[in-house]
Symmetry: C2
Subunit: 432 residues, 2 copies
């Protein structure tokens, strides 16, 4: 594909056709257009902006680059609504709003991001809950939405890969703060969630990414048009970020404050913003007809404990790392369980250090029930692997296959558990 | 100090005097001998070994380079015994043994290390307990030993700084696996704990640092001589590390298994090694006279729940990061609480990312109860800082002093919490 004339046209204030945007995104995602050409094009977009139909084509192309959550044809009739925030300090609204609205009968397939710059990220707050898994597959996420009404996950590799690639390039080419590019990025991901409605929390004030209210309103209008044109009713609230929201700032502290808020003990400003967004979601989903009734329903859901219980169900459903059981590959006698192989595998799983500066994941590892001398049957469970992801499970299985040697009979007697006692007087052989 | 003749003498199989060792360690620790000279000397020691009085002088010099835990003159009469292990896979003995023996009336000032190479480290296992602090000062550690009978900490900066410097140099000069150098390193730290006795767990087998039993015995004898000569009765057990100890391998998993063991539900091999070491400690401390009675006392301490309770007390005493309250520096009205300053401070405390690859400490942050418009009195608590260490507390206080602006009256009206509602139909001003 010949890209230079397209960059030139955008540079000079012209318009690219939907077909041209579609081809650009597809070819770039496939690695057939170099970064430097797209970098130049992004800078031209930053300066010149995008016409409405260009933005629509760009967003559609980014959305089409990956999979989406689809609830079609499954008989799942619950309205699906999500919220997006432009990000702030102390903003733990998602942790309260997701379970709260789900407890009121809305399905919330919520895909969130990490903190970058001075703002916090919902994923980081969720991962402050020991064992909480944010990296579910689309199939797992869908199943959880259908079962519990809410899932809280990160952007999967399957969703809008074009956005991932474009975002990384924007981040290093000073083309982040462009309203059309921000809008396409957010909406290509949100529209992939298979939503019936979307509420935007656009932050305003010194702590917001776009501190001026006019820019915030422009962003809101741009995203609303994108959503509505694609059949996803979209509404935005402009909320204050000239001071932190709530009292707690920091991941564990914010998660604790969110749990308090779900019990009705949260700070008033946090609850107020959460209720305002929740009201929009209940009305969009057709659960309630007006603000007053919707607000009442949200308050009741908190007072009754249902909202807090919903969060507990979500934590339980997403808690704990993947664990898989390792079965004996053959019948025989365990000859060896080699500790070095296991120790090195823990490091490979992220649970040990290569250098003293390394940080570790304390949750990974092995439970090995087989000991040298044990008789085992083929297929009998003899160990478990605790890992962060399926790759880790594979690594763990390979280590177990190497460390646990099963043969026809014991070839070496295992060492006595306590073999010698040494004192100043000398060495005493024990052989316990 | 002229170092070359000393290196030459050791290189050629000669002996350095105690005064020479003492001067070498003191000058090197003070930065007045370059690394390359000590590197050459360490390699000569690796090849030629050390005479008994040389090793003693080296150990004493390393011990003298720092502070020690001293219980003299305080009227604290409880016998103080510690255990050291040469390290293995699945070796969570320290976590069981410390509380268990403390519950039997022994004081255990236990200083442990991190996992390196294929072996795990007690510190990493302890830090798998949310909020557990392993970096106490010597004064804090001493107070906890006197109050609870056990403290579980890392090597503080105050203890044997010469060892820290020498160990780092050995690690990068292939001079780690030297029995005199290992012995001096271990014993200079252990002797700084102010002990009345020490039990060594020297691992044997393919997963041990020194896999051959002869080398293990040599190491045991060397350390025993060092301890005994310094008035610290020392005994060693040689235990099996040709397979992992217990079933769990990995930090959280091992901590869980240790807690189970303290409730008497641990794997038999783990309990057996723990009991064998515990028996030595009780006898060394004069709590029991023979193996049978000592073993019975340990078993009773587990069955009664006292050992598990002791571990809970230790966790509680060491749990939770430092938190300090920030007071209003003057009387007045809160004019601003600047979110960006707070967001950036969370990153500085280690709770946010500079790049997407950064790992974060989820526990740090702020709770800020003051909001713009609030009237505050000088000295009134208006925020808290949650940090990893006193440096973090200082960083947090500086951020709060900058972010929270207090003046005579409100100069800017805070933004309305929810200021606008934007839909496809247009912008509605709310001003809630």
């Amino acid at each position: 594909m010949i890209v230079v004339p397209l960059i030139e046209r955008k540079r000079d204030g012209g318009v690219l056709t939907p077909e041209e945007w579609s081809a650009l995104v597809a070819e770039y995602t496939a690695g057939r257009i170099p970064d430097y050409q797209i970098a130049a094009l992004l800078m031209a977009v930053f300066m010149r902006g995008l016409e409405r139909q260009e933005l629509a084509a760009l967003t559609d192309a980014m959305l089409a680059s990956g999979d989406r959550l689809s609830f079609d044809g499954g008989g799942f009739k619950v309205p699906r609504i999500d919220k997006h925030s432009t990000g702030g300090v102390g903003d733990k609204v998602s942790l309260v709003l997701g379970p709260l609205v789900a407890a009121c009968g809305i399905a919330v397939p919520m895909m969130s991001g990490r903190g970058l710059g001075h703002t916090g990220g919902t994923l980081d707050k969720l991962e402050a809950i020991p064992g909480f898994r944010t990296s579910l597959s689309l199939a797992e996420a869908k199943a959880q939405v259908q079962r519990l009404g809410c899932v809280l996950i990160g952007q999967t590799a399957e969703i809008a890969p074009a956005d991932r690639k474009l975002y990384a390039l924007r981040d290093v080419t000073a083309t982040v703060e462009s309203i059309p590019l921000i809008s396409a990025s957010i909406m290509s991901k949100k529209l992939a969630e298979g939503l019936n409605g979307l509420v935007l929390d656009v932050k305003n004030g010194s702590g917001a990414f776009l501190p001026e209210v006019d820019r915030g309103l422009e962003l809101a209008k741009t995203m609303i048009a994108l959503g509505e044109d694609r059949g996803c009713p979209t509404v935005a609230l402009i909320t204050a970020m000239d001071r932190p929201l709530g009292r707690a700032c920091g991941n564990v502290l914010e998660t604790e404050e969110a749990i308090l808020a779900l019990r009705g003990e949260g700070p008033p400003d946090l609850l107020e913003v959460t209720y305002a967004l929740g009201v929009e979601m209940l009305i969009q989903g057709g659960i309630e007809k007006n603000t007053k009734k919707a607000r009442k329903k949200l308050e009741t859901s908190i007072e009754s404990g249902l909202a807090a219980e919903k969060f507990e169900q979500i934590i339980e459903a997403q808690g704990g790392n993947p664990v898989e059981v390792y079965a004996a590959p053959r019948t025989g006698v365990v000859q060896r369980v080699e500790p070095r192989t296991i120790g090195r595998a823990i490091i490979a799983l992220g649970g040990g250090r290569r250098t003293v500066e390394d940080t570790i994941d304390p949750t990974v590892g092995f439970v090995i029930t087989a000991k040298p001398g044990d008789k085992v049957l083929e297929g009998e469970p003899i160990a478990s692997v605790f890992a962060k992801d399926p790759d880790g499970i594979r690594t763990g299985f390979e280590a177990l296959a190497q460390a646990i040697v099963i043969g026809d009979k014991l070839t070496h007697k295992p060492l006595p558990l306590v073999s010698h006692r040494v004192t100043r007087a000398g060495v005493e052989k024990l052989g316990v």
